[in-house]
Symmetry: C2
């Protein structure tokens, strides 16, 4: 029997939680092995439609889960996430599985090294189930993954498989990454809790060749999201030169903000009416709960909005230039190994730039960060929709017309957190036409724990909105 996709209701949807299962492991009423088997059953049930995985290693996962079962039985788990089945986005290197990055040019790529985050998860006892599908090199060319709530819709990208696997209840958490909007957009479209950490807060291991990429976590609840992020950061630290994730190992407690600012950036005009109405209902609830909401009539908010005009173009230029150095030779050796959309996004953008253009882009980013820093003392967090609406339908390019630039969804609401190096948390509080639509909470660099606490408060206090 195959479970069909069901429309999403944020008030009733429950994904797979892990932190609530561990008491039963200690009492031997449940085991990590049994937990894993339930995950594998859901994967067997739904994978043919969802297509979230590029590599699954069930045998290895069972061995890891058995070892975890033994540790819990002895009362000696390695961490709070010992036994947690996790999917790794296929941009990160794994010793025992290939790393093909959704890109033909990297077919068969198998460096036999663990990314720092993967290494840390193994040390913490997490069960590496497999590699989740990424769009091509983390760019705009879509992957075969479908949205678990309606297969005609995109799951978002580039962390397509990571978002969909959590939404489908296949695993409680996955590792995702973001350079533009690759973690937060899928979180919005799949109803995940998502943490895009402060730039540098989680060691990216070999993936250091971009200045605004982060590894983050998608999960079905904020507790698991934080536990996974903290377990990695505690063991592998931050990026070279960056302090690691600030905060406790246990999930930060809910925290009521006094003042938040709404950021109306370039995505605002592209919000559809229903999504805007859902977001307005959230703002009304914040006011009812005594939270002051600043908007663009505040001059400090207006200054940041103004600095962020053109953020998607600026962010696209920076990421194209930086990725050029990592991918240039491989793609030159495999001229057919990259889609036309990927070539336009990564290669052609970079080849129109020179080192001085890149330096200018960095100066612009410094200016944006300064405008954000000025807002720091005035508010507890920035909030905004996480996407311009719920997941759009993607049926492929229409022959004879200009190919879609963003087939996995518009990243306009996501580039700001990337450019700012800011922590951002997606709160799955809204549904539009039966599909998830996220709220994001964004803070100053280093405030990941505080933003997670504020997001938890919103998740527990505000009434989910369906329009």
């Amino acid at each position: 029997m195959t479970t069909t996709a069901s429309r999403y209701d944020p008030a009733t949807f429950q994904g797979l939680r892990f932190h609530t299962a561990t008491d039963a492991f200690l009492r031997d009423e449940d085991t990590p092995r049994d937990y894993l088997e339930r995950c594998l059953a859901v994967i067997a049930d739904r994978e043919s439609v969802v297509r979230a995985w590029v590599v699954l290693d069930e045998e290895s996962a069972r061995r890891q889960a058995d070892a975890s079962t033994e540790r819990w039985r002895r009362g000696e788990p390695l961490s709070a996430v010992d036994g947690l089945p996790v999917g790794i986005k296929d941009l990160l290197e794994t010793r025992d599985m290939p790393t093909q990055m959704g890109c033909a040019a990297f077919a068969g790529n198998f460096p036999k090294r663990d990314n720092a985050a993967v290494w840390a998860l193994r040390r913490a006892g997490a069960v590496i189930v497999g590699k989740t599908v990424t769009t091509e090199l983390g760019g705009p060319e879509p992957s075969p993954t479908t949205n678990p709530f309606d297969p005609a819709h995109t799951p978002g990208g580039s962390s397509s498989g990571s978002g969909a696997a959590v939404a489908a209840g296949m695993v409680p958490a996955t590792i995702a990454t973001q350079t533009g909007g690759s973690l937060m957009r899928p979180a919005s479209f799949n109803g995940n809790w998502g943490l895009k950490p402060s730039q540098g807060a989680i060691n990216r291991g070999e993936r250091q060749t971009a200045s605004m990429t982060t590894h983050g976590v998608l999960a079905a609840c904020p507790e698991d999201m934080w536990l996974v992020a903290a377990a990695i950061a505690r063991r592998a630290g931050g990026d070279p030169g960056w302090p690691s994730l600030v905060g406790p190992e246990s999930p930060p407690l809910p925290r009521r903000p006094s003042t938040v600012a709404v950021l109306e950036t370039e995505g605002w005009e592209r919000l559809d009416a229903a999504s805007r109405s859902a977001f307005d209902q959230i703002l009304d609830q914040l006011a009812v709960n005594g939270v002051t909401v600043l908007r663009r009539d505040d001059t400090v908010v207006a200054r940041l909005e103004k600095a962020l005009v053109g953020a998607s173009e600026l962010g696209s230029a920076i990421l194209a230039w930086e990725h050029y150095w990592a991918f240039r030779d491989v793609l030159a050796d495999h001229p057919d190994g990259l889609s036309a959309r990927g070539r336009r996004f990564f290669i052609e953008t970079a080849e129109r730039m020179n080192a001085a253009d890149y330096d200018d882009a960095l100066r612009e980013r410094v200016f944006i960060r300064a405008a954000h820093a000025l807002l720091g003392p005035c508010i507890d967090a920035v909030i905004a929709p996480t996407s311009t609406g719920p997941a759009p339908v993607w049926r492929g390019d229409v022959p004879g017309t200009e190919p879609s630039r963003w087939p996995t969804g518009d990243p306009a609401f996501n580039f700001p957190s990337s450019l700012l190096g800011a922590p951002a948390v997606n709160v799955p509080l809204m549904a539009v036409r039966g599909l998830p639509f996220g709220l994001q909470v964004l803070g100053q660099p280093g405030t990941d724990a505080r933003m997670t606490g504020i997001a938890r408060w919103m998740g527990e206090t505000l009434t989910p909105v369906s329009v």
Copy 2:
């Protein structure tokens, strides 16, 4: 006939210059191919003793030089370094040659990609002659390279081959790298001009996994040193997130400083009497030339010296932790692929640390950088010896005694520029017992061109000292 090594006199020593040759290329009185053949003849003559190269590709170099010859004949060189024969330190990836990092665990490693600096040099028309010897993974385990001025002495490390190749007149310039003292120490021991640029100023391509590594240039004259660095930075820019090398494409003009500070850091007590006397003669000459020299009785200088106490230990800890992520799995798969000294330096240091220790080390580095920034408005440059003396003799560990920690020389005078992210230029102005001994000029991050100008002024104005 093999040329024997000769003792070094900084007043008369002349390495191989390139920038003085290009006028003859334009007039067709000399060609890049002939220039290369002269280099290859020196290599054939001296390589059996000096052992500066791990891979030499003479055929490819001749093809590259012929193409350059054609461009100069047409009056259309790609850059000022078109035709310049250059050696690439074997830590940097090259498409057409293996990258074995002086380490048995990486024997046969051949990723077939060009490091960003290598790519940029090719675009600028430079002739890639081969890969120069590095100590094992750029660490303390010595390489087979010998000092061109006396083969019983070390050429320094880790850029052993890069320093020795320039000193032996095999090529006019080489690419080197520094994390602790890997560029500046060989520059001192080999009588090279050397630029260790500001952190981030030259794109390291795939080598981004450490927060205080830089690619730099060793050359026989300041003009070639700068031309090569600028040719790379102009094409490949800085590291992701960092502005590229600030300054003109042509060599910065000599620049007289008004005030310099002498930094007496932990290396000071280990300077031998002859080397200290040579350095004192330089200080006397500065005073004669009207340059004010601040020393530790100045409170701002004293504050930086105090902040730098323990710099070698701090720097060693940071670099061990950061390298751990890059090398961990490869070394685990090749337990005999790393020397005992390398294992102690890279692996055991890191395994004694955790993420919180690393964060603490970064905080300490922030404090040191703040102390350096305070000095910025007070002086034009910091000066110091580049090493604790000329190159020591290295005959191998003595069985039954504790293995030498720094067989390629003490890095105590080099860790400061690495920790500070500061540009540093080695001026080959001194000889001690017939071997080179360098003076370093060190500035605030971003002042690479200014420091090069000050170093040139010193090189042209001060009388070389032999003791």
